[in-house]
């Protein structure tokens, strides 16, 4: 257990030190949102309507570009060997790495989201649903992403492949996440169900991704 905490703590420290990923993740997220906003143009009503989908899409994209951080560096420098040697259950190492990824890549952008939502003219009643949907949904992105990173561990063209593999698995999170954020904003009846389904996706990801990810790492370490 203490080993898993140590893995998470080390990754958080690394992400916060100079050259680490936490600030980069938030910056990429902001950039993606701003590019969308520029493309949509200055019409504030249109922006308000698109705020939730744009923020969710940007969150998905910034998760996607940070996936190689989950295992690749540890694989190359031998840290992963140490983790495999000392861990009782490799599945829990995958879980710990996904938690660390969420803390260092998703949490910064949840913190940045309200500011960007302001730029997108999101109505006031939309903030709660948006942040709640991001908080419930982004762990699924990190978990499924950890599975994708495990599958493509040590491969040369990992970047493109991981997007192809993870993309379809991200679809439910995106659909229910945007669904909940938009429905919550409009007070529509499907707000509750969307959030529940979003939570279900996260739970399924939490159950499956560590098992499948650990299996993938075992095969890729040979």
């Amino acid at each position: 257990m203490s080993g898993l905490v140590a893995i998470v703590a080390r990754d958080v420290v690394l992400a916060l030190r100079a050259g680490g990923g936490a600030v980069q993740a938030a910056l990429f997220f902001a950039l993606a949102v701003l590019v969308f906003a520029l493309a949509v143009g200055p019409d504030l009503d249109t922006l308000a309507e698109l705020a939730a989908p744009v923020l969710w899409t940007a969150a998905l994209l910034s998760t996607l570009v940070s996936l190689d951080r989950i295992f690749q560096a540890d694989f190359e420098d031998g840290s992963l060997d140490v983790m495999i040697e000392t861990a009782d259950l490799l599945e829990l190492v995958v879980l710990a790495k996904a938690v660390a990824h969420w803390l260092t890549s998703a949490l910064p952008l949840i913190i940045a989201a309200p500011v960007l939502a302001l730029l997108l003219n999101l109505p006031q009643e939309g903030y709660g649903p948006l942040l709640l949907s991001l908080a419930i949904g982004t762990p699924a992105l990190s978990l499924i992403g950890a599975l994708g990173a495990a599958l493509t561990l040590g491969m040369r063209r990992a970047g493109a492949l991981v997007s192809i593999l993870v993309g379809p698995l991200y679809a439910p999170t995106l659909i229910f996440g945007v669904g909940a954020a938009k429905a919550g904003l409009e007070g529509a009846p499907s707000y509750g169900p969307s959030l529940l389904l979003l939570g279900a996706v996260t739970l399924f990801a939490a159950a499956l991704a560590p098992l499948a990810g650990a299996a993938a790492i075992r095969f890729n370490m040979r």
Binding site: G3, G19, S79, V82, E85, T86, R222
Partner: protein, 212 residues
């Protein structure tokens, strides 16, 4: 109670075959290692030294044959609890200080905090302990990586080309460390293509010419 029957451990390989990347690298490997013994594994680049060590460490699956610990008490089959592999990669994070890197490994190995200072001293790194690992030279990085042997407290040390990049003094220090470890009842396997000489050690050669 991982520590109870820890020291005085030996190793036996019976007709072991190991594949890597879909190709059989090693076949029909049989060897024994007694407690307190050091084995030098020699052979050319690509002969399969690393593959052998990783298989013994449990990092690679064995295709055929059997690898077993001897004199290890009840946990005899669980090699992972008894072996520590120090490979080419030093597992150092450049952004962390040497001490922080060691502290991380110590937590993974469930080692007591006091052992960090012991390991730093053993590889003459005390003066560099608070430097970021990024500033170390190649040889210093190598030594920092080798502190994992001491930190782990494991009886069976598996060293993969430990002599690479380190100077003569450090090499002497390392061989002294291995000798002391074996005197306490531990065992060590060192893969090297030439440089290390340990008068007390037995040597085997890995290579295609050595197949039965």
């Amino acid at each position: 109670m991982r520590t109870a029957a820890r020291f005085a451990v030996g190793l036996r390989l019976e007709d072991v075959a190991v594949a890597r990347g879909g190709r059989t690298i090693l076949a029909d490997v049989s060897l024994t290692l007694a407690p307190r013994e050091t084995l030098l594994v020699k052979g050319r680049n690509g002969a399969g030294k690393t593959t052998l060590l990783r298989a013994i460490a449990g990092l690679l699956p064995v295709e055929r044959g059997r690898i077993a610990l001897t004199n290890a008490g009840s946990e005899a089959q669980d090699r992972r609890g008894h072996a520590i592999y120090a490979g080419h990669a030093d597992a150092l994070k450049p952004a962390l200080t040497v001490r922080e890197n060691l502290a991380f490994w110590a937590k993974l190995h469930r080692a007591p905090i006091a052992r960090i200072e012991e390991a730093l001293a053993a590889l003459d790194l005390a003066s560099l302990a608070d430097q970021p690992a990024a500033r170390l030279s190649a040889g210093q990085k190598r030594r920092a990586g080798l502190t994992r042997l001491v930190l782990s407290g494991k009886p069976l040390w598996l060293l993969d080309e430990p002599a690479a990049a380190i100077d003569a003094d450090s090499l002497a220090r390392l061989t002294g460390l291995v000798k002391a470890h074996c005197d306490k009842g531990g065992a060590a396997i060192i893969a090297t293509h030439d440089r290390i000489s340990l008068p007390s050690a037995r040597a085997v050669i890995v290579g295609p010419e050595a197949t039965a």
